[in-house]
């Protein structure tokens, strides 16, 4: 009895996935959707495996990872210091809150044409737009974290003899870290979204976005699903990576 309960609790996380595949298989067997549009799970998985094996899916995946990584790194380097600066001054923050909030709420994809003019149709545009989107998310979260740092901890440091700069480096930045990590997590997701869209529509010859669009155009549906799955897995893993990093580096968060 007990062991079957244990087994159930272990299986629960994959139960949803299992049901989805069963439902997909049934839909395929019963021809609920045109098989050309919806191949069987086995065919799609085969395409995924094949893509990895012969290397072209790997290559596209790597390109997307590289673009996302570079844009995220640029965003991080720009947004964290700016966020700290912004958050540590009430006056600066109040003056800039509206424009930042406005741009943060603007869909980054709406900026594509502008960035195309600024950076041309090459690699830099994709990275610039993704970095722009991610940077605003990180900037806002960091500034918020700095502004909401516990005043009493800052006082505690000051009373022990810390200078303003030392309060910032020893207390305020640590206090803001949990928020910064939240911003980084949404920032990296956003960067991936923008990179995929950019690969589809801004003259690309590689990357997952381009691969998804290309296989759709030639009606290679198994490969399209395989590429969508690869993009999904990438997003999921990135999120997971940041959650693990968050637990590791801000172990005190929420406690």
């Amino acid at each position: 009895m007990k062991s079957s309960e244990e087994l159930m609790s272990k299986l629960q996380p994959v139960l949803g996935l299992f049901l989805l595949v069963v439902f997909w298989e049934l839909a395929f067997e019963m021809r609920l959707v045109d098989p050309v549009l919806l191949p069987s799970p086995a065919q799609s998985f085969q395409a995924f495996w094949h893509g990895l094996e012969e290397g072209s899916l790997w290559a596209d995946l790597r390109r997307t990872v590289a673009r996302t990584g570079i844009s995220f790194a640029i965003a991080l380097v720009i947004a964290v210091p700016l966020g700290i600066l912004l958050g540590s001054s009430d006056k600066v923050y109040r003056a800039l809150e509206f424009p930042i909030d406005f741009f943060r709420s603007t869909p980054a994809s709406a900026m594509f044409p502008l960035f195309l003019i600024l950076f041309g149709s090459g690699e830099s545009t994709k990275i610039a737009v993704a970095a722009f989107g991610a940077a605003l998310a990180i900037l806002f979260a960091t500034a918020y974290g700095v502004m909401n740092a516990r005043k009493q901890r800052q006082l505690a440091a000051r009373v022990m003899g810390a200078s303003r700069l030392q309060v910032l480096s020893d207390v305020t930045i640590w206090e803001s870290l949990p928020q910064t990590f939240v911003g980084m997590r949404s920032g990296v997701s956003l960067a991936l979204v923008i990179v995929i869209v950019a690969e589809m529509f801004i003259g690309s010859t590689d990357g997952l976005g381009q691969r998804i669009l290309k296989s759709q155009m030639v009606f290679d549906m198994p490969d399209m699903y395989a590429s969508i799955f690869a993009a999904g897995a990438l997003g999921y893993l990135l999120n997971l990576l940041f959650i693990v990093a968050e637990r590791r580096f801000v172990h005190w968060g929420g406690k």
């Binding site: 901890r153 009373v159 022990m160 870290l177 172990h251 005190w252 406690k255």
Partner: protein, 283 residues
Amino acid sequence: MQALKHMEAPQAARPPGAGEIAGMDLGHRWYAPGTHITIRGLHKTFGAHTLYDGFDLDIPKGKIISIFGPNGCGKSTLINMIAGILPYDKGQILFDGKDVHDTRIGYVFQNYREAVFPWMRAIDNIRYPLKYLDLSKGEKEARIDRLVESFDVKIDLNKYPYQMSGGQQQMVSIMRALVVDPEVLFLDEPFSALDYEMTQFLRDRLQKVFIERPVTTLLVSHDLDEAVYLADYVLLLSRNPTRIADFVPFDAPRPRSAETTLTPDFLRVKGHSLEIFQREVRK
């Protein structure tokens, strides 16, 4: 600063024995012998609300002063101004003639949860203020060892604060305040969020530290028993604008224990303080 003008200020409390000796005139800085902290002409308003208006106080050196008074009379405000973490509008506060920034102070907050640094282990929290002192590494470690020993710490100080109970966190906070060997120690209702057992434990440890090395201490308390029990002097404040209602000495020998609270002396001081407190509340 014209501290001299306030010399005869009627509400300035003097330690006994100091009053009859003429105050020392050190040019522009005057203070009675045995005095550590002098407060002259302190003025503080919050908006239209005047909390302190020409407040004078002398705090004797190496003594524990419990501050007690009606709600909203500004007990915490007073120690925060003295500790230099709250600005005041007018007046002067000196420590042996020095400014607060030239004085080593320790401060224990009521809310320990937001006072210790959760990203540091307990031992690193205690070590932290030492970085602002000019000591060799060996000296720093020796100090920590001494403190840990005199506190008779039974818990693992390599834990993070969030892995500790509230009382243990407050103990870390108290040790952090004491490790710098402060000239003045500020305690803002340090036990009010703790259970009785932990409160007793920490009071005993504090007493032990005080006996080993007296340090000028300002304790804000809303528990009259505790205020008297720990005090050399009970500073009773009035409703605002805040004045000194009384400055009551209590010189029972240390270490004090539960028996101390049954002595006629304790009951007299407590009774007298309560009488004044009630008079001030009714005003």
